[in-house]
């Protein structure tokens, strides 16, 4: 009998700041509940010890400015490392599934990292995906993000990767941070419809939450046929969460976990440290282990029925209907989406709420008929108080064709040869996922 593994890393000695939602206390009551239940004596559950992720594991995913060490603390590396440890245990067939109940979270961390966004510095799930694909030769992975906030970091990292399906179920971005995650963000031209955003109206209950899963995500997964499913298990859709406005309960999370059957779940947000986390975490753990979670009922929920209005019902039907229709049709081809120039270009600005940084970005992806194509980004960031940074990075996809990989090194040589100190980017990056080689040059 293979077991459900738990890594519980509450980081009792780490906080963003003493009164920040992401502080030492966050998983204290979850610890109390899980330990008190005696569930860790259950022979179906096994506890693992966390470990640190390597710098290379982070470089495989991010362009950290100026380097990984400046953007991470040990807590970040342990949080990511815990996910990797469970990934290894899963792929070595030691366990049936696993839950990294860890902090700090990661799903708002994008490819370029100038600082902390939405309490995140590095993206735990993305680091896990790239590690497993590199180490075990897995190709197709699905990430299902059930945090109330749009998983914009994970979306950004895999936006042009046709082998990673990123699905985010969240409260409508017009009403909540980070203000993105609309249906038209559906993947780059080479990975169209491999990003699925399901913005739900504030006030959505278990019923609406599960409807979105059953009508859209489930069939999308069935069509994509991933080798592995990872759940970004944020818990702030809970009806008591102080930072959001949804009405989902522990039972809803338990049911979703039971049906989704993720291979690995990684904790994301959730800041109702007393009223939600002890119960939701327990329900998810029990559901993963195939145990009965029907008695995990929040005291606040007793005697009340969480109902969603007619209006909310209709909004959910509209959005699920949109996706059913969209995913039911044959999408346009890659060459058609890239257009005549064979180049995808995007300019945008990104705000780092925690660290108060404004970033300006220009990205490009080259069309290649044989592979996802080379990705380039130029990024400048300025802190509200403090200095600015300018970087340039290029990424060779894991499944790049040999021609693209070779051309990337030609570009790199040319750019490094021409770099002009003091009058260009501060830092240059070459991320060769295919060759597992990560180069960084100061400007």
């Amino acid at each position: 009998m293979r077991k459900t593994a738990l890594i519980f890393f509450p980081a009792f000695d780490w906080a963003i700041s003493p009164s920040h939602p992401e502080r030492e206390e966050r998983l204290l009551y979850t610890r109390d509940q899980i330990f008190e239940e005696g569930i860790l004596d259950n022979p179906r559950i096994v506890e693992y010890k966390p470990r640190l992720a390597e710098i290379e594991d982070v470089e495989r995913v991010h362009f950290c400015v100026p380097d990984v060490a400046s953007q991470t603390t040990n807590a970040h590396l342990i949080s990511a490392g815990s996910a990797l440890k469970l990934g290894d245990a899963l792929l070595n067939r030691e366990i049936r599934n696993g839950f990294a109940l860890v902090r700090p979270p990661g799903h708002h961390a994008m490819r370029v990292v100038h600082g902390n966004r939405g309490f995140c510095n590095i993206n735990n799930e993305a680091i896990l995906v790239e590690y497993l694909r590199f180490k075990y030769g897995i190709r197709r992975i699905a990430v299902v993000d059930t945090d109330v906030h749009h998983g914009d970091g994970t979306q950004d990292i895999f936006y042009h990767d046709p082998d990673v399906l990123v699905v985010s179920l969240h409260q409508d971005g017009r009403t909540l941070y980070p203000g993105s995650g609309f249906v038209d963000e559906a993947g780059g031209p080479g990975a169209y419809l491999k990003t699925i955003n399901i913005p739900l109206p504030p006030g959505t209950t278990d019923e609406g939450f599960l409807k979105a899963w059953r009508r859209v995500i489930k069939p999308a997964l069935e069509a994509f046929k991933p080798e592995l499913v990872i759940n970004s298990a944020g818990q702030d859709n809970h009806f008591t969460d102080p930072l959001a406005n949804m009405r989902v309960s522990a039972a809803g999370y338990g049911k979703l976990t039971e049906e989704l059957k993720p291979d690995l779940a990684v904790l994301e947000g959730g800041y109702a440290v007393e009223t939600a986390l002890p119960y939701v975490n327990l329900a998810i753990l029990l559901a993963l282990a195939g145990e009965d979670y029907s008695n995990v009922i929040e005291p606040q929920k007793r005697g009340t029925v969480l109902r969603q209005s007619e209006e909310i019902e209709q909004a959910i039907d509209r959005i699920t209907g949109y996706w059913q229709e969209k995913l039911g049709r044959e999408p346009p081809g890659k060459d058609e989406l890239f257009g005549g120039k064979g180049l995808y270009l995007r300019s945008r600005s990104i705000y780092y709420d925690t660290d108060q940084i404004y970033e300006q970005q220009r990205e490009s992806v080259e069309y290649c008929p044989d592979c996802p194509g080379l990705y380039q980004v130029e990024s400048r960031a300025k802190k509200t108080w403090g200095d600015s940074r300018w970087i340039w990075g290029m990424s060779i996809p894991l499944y790049a064709c040999p021609a693209c990989q070779a051309r990337a090194y030609e570009y790199w040589e040319k750019i490094i040869g021409k770099k002009n100190s003091g009058n260009g980017p501060d830092c240059f990056y070459l991320q060769d996922k295919k060759g597992n080689r990560y180069l960084r040059e100061k400007g």
Binding site: S19, E24, G38, P278, E291
Partner: protein
């Protein structure tokens, strides 16, 4: 002088120690009645010794394990107040349970009241089925024992003949299943245990011993016999504690080693790291049920000196014990016999083994030496696997703090202390194979009794306080309550914990001079933008170790 007695399944060992010196020792077969076995050993030990010079007697017994394993327990029932969480029907409770309303949350707040009619109905059902001992377990009762106490009171009022025990009186650690089972077993064994304690007291008096009697605990500390009546489970599994302490006594202060204790049917492996025995992360299991007793981490292998050697389709196989080794007059060839044949044992009787061993080997086309070596190497391979498992568990102990994760790789010991008859030969071979140092203590045959005699009084306090709820609790059953003063900072919380530590030591009649801090943490309780209070977690204990170590030359290196 101090006396240590270890009552094992087969033998009862006793020693009289004067500091680190063995003054006298006895080893006898354990009889039917444990109390009279103890008396017999005491009588022999005291030959030529003035009873007044004995300052302390420490007992380690399998009494409670036997009572439970043989099912000689009084029937008990369990009233459960699960509140929200895991389905209680899926949890391993050690008694017939009645589930009723009433719940406390992790902060100690009552989130659901009890219904006295339900209590009454549950009580009636228990009485109807002949159960008059009832344990009460409410989730988070250590944070707030009010519901457990209310139910106990209701039952006592309605039916004074019923014995009730609240789980928060047994332990204050998180894990209500373990607390509940601890309460059940305590109720079940208490009469037999009381009887035993009475008999020991009579023996002491008869032999003119006026000194205190202590019971060795599973964690290697001691508790006065009188105090152990309230906490009978503390003394369960003290055998492995005794042998680990015995190994430490021989290995010296600061020992880092594997301890291998080989008996007739099993071999136990334990770890001592820098003079401190390794504890099991979660607690012990009794009859397969998890309980709250803190115990040393021991890996048991179902092979011992009396394991029989057989051949199946030409393959050497080690099997169950059928009796003594052949060299001692037994009927079947055993591991001990193989050691004797190979010259790895001090036992005589090689001539009794030879004909059978040679005949058996010839039938399977082997040399006698090959067969013996094969049997021993199978034993060592099984030991090696068990040791690897134990190391893996130790190295994979969960960590909840950054410093625990980055504090580096755990360093495996490269020494083995061998206890028990066959351990010496096996240990020397094993050590040679692994390139390890092997220690065979001079008094290895009574190492457990030495460990008991040299054990120290120990106390551990895990303190928890919530200054918003104004409550505190500890790991010690019954030691919890309301805070009278707000504890504004960690320093004051520590002082309060220290005062509780002293109080507990006094109540348990334990002379405690020093304490060391295991961990200390303060959490801010913040809701919205306001700090509403603090939660403290502090752990302290008496420094582990021994009263004395065996004098130099007591161990032999190889």
């Amino acid at each position: 002088m101090e006396i240590g007695i270890d009552v094992g399944g087969t033998f009862t060992d006793g020693v009289v120690m004067n500091g680190g010196q063995v003054v006298n020792w006895v080893k006898k077969e354990t009889g039917e009645d444990i109390a009279s076995s103890i008396q017999g050993v005491l009588e022999q030990l005291l030959a030529g010794i003035d009873p007044f010079s004995v300052k302390r007697v420490v007992l380690s017994t399998t009494l409670i394990t036997n009572i439970i394993a043989q099912g000689r327990v009084a029937p008990a029932g369990l009233i459960l107040l699960p509140g929200p969480g895991v389905n209680p029907r899926d949890l391993p409770f050690a008694a017939k349970a009645e589930i009723i309303k009433g719940a406390v949350d992790y902060r100690g707040r009552i989130i659901e009241k009890i219904d006295p009619a339900e209590v009454s109905a549950a009580l009636k059902r228990f009485l109807d089925s002949g159960i008059s001992r009832i344990a009460v377990a409410c989730k988070f009762s250590q944070r707030n024992p009010a519901l457990e106490e209310e139910i106990s009171r209701l039952i006592e009022e309605e039916c004074p003949a019923v014995r009730v025990l609240a789980s928060s009186r047994v332990s204050g650690l998180l894990n209500w299943v373990r607390r509940a089972n601890g309460a059940v077993f305590s109720l079940q064994v208490s009469d037999d245990y009381r009887l035993f304690a009475g008999e020991v007291a009579v023996s002491m008096e008869r032999l003119g011993l006026k000194c205190p009697v202590c019971i060795l605990k599973a964690d290697g500390g001691t508790i006065p016999l009188e105090q152990s009546l309230q906490r009978p489970l503390e003394g369960i599994f003290s055998g492995p504690a005794a042998s680990t302490l015995g190994a430490l006594a021989a290995g010296g202060e600061g020992l880092t080693s594997v301890v291998m204790d080989t008996g007739g049917t099993t071999t136990d492996l334990a770890l001592v790291l820098e003079g401190r025995p390794l504890f099991s992360e979660k607690g012990a299991f009794v009859n397969g049920y998890p309980v709250c007793t803190r115990a040393m981490a021991v890996a048991s292998l179902a092979l011992g000196g009396d394991s029989t050697i057989t051949l199946e389709n030409g393959r050497v196989v080690l099997g169950e014990r059928y009796g003594k080794a052949m060299c001692l007059g037994g009927a079947r060839l055993t591991v001990t016999d193989a050691l004797v044949y190979l010259g790895l044992s001090d036992l005589a009787g090689r001539e009794k083994i030879l004909p059978i061993l040679e005949e058996m080997s010839r039938r399977h086309g082997l040399e006698a030496g090959e067969l013996a070596e094969k049997a021993v190497s199978i034993f060592l391979e099984s030991l090696e696997r068990k040791l690897e498992e134990m190391f893996a568990v130790w190295e994979e102990e969960p960590a909840y703090r950054i410093w625990q994760v980055i504090s580096g790789q755990k360093k495996r010991p490269r020494t083995v202390v061998c206890l028990g008859g066959p351990a010496k030969g096996l240990g020397i071979l094993w050590g040679k194979k692994k390139g390890w140092q092997v220690i065979v203590p001079r008094h290895a045959q009574v190492a457990n009794a030495i460990g008991a005699a040299l054990s120290k009084t120990t106390l551990r306090l895990d303190f928890f306080a919530d200054t918003q709820q104004m409550i505190y609790s500890t790991n010690i059953g019954g030691l919890h309550g309301s805070l009278e003063h707000i504890l504004p900072n960690l320093e004051e919380a520590k002082q309060f914990a220290e005062s509780l530590f002293r109080q507990a030591a006094k109540e348990l009649d334990m002379p405690v001079s020093r304490s060391e801090t295991l961990y200390e943490e303060g959490f801010n309780i913040i809701r919205g933008w306001n700090t509403l209070g603090k939660i403290y977690q502090i752990g302290m204990q008496t420094p582990p170790g021994l009263r004395a170590f065996l004098e130099k030359g007591a161990g032999t290196g190889a």
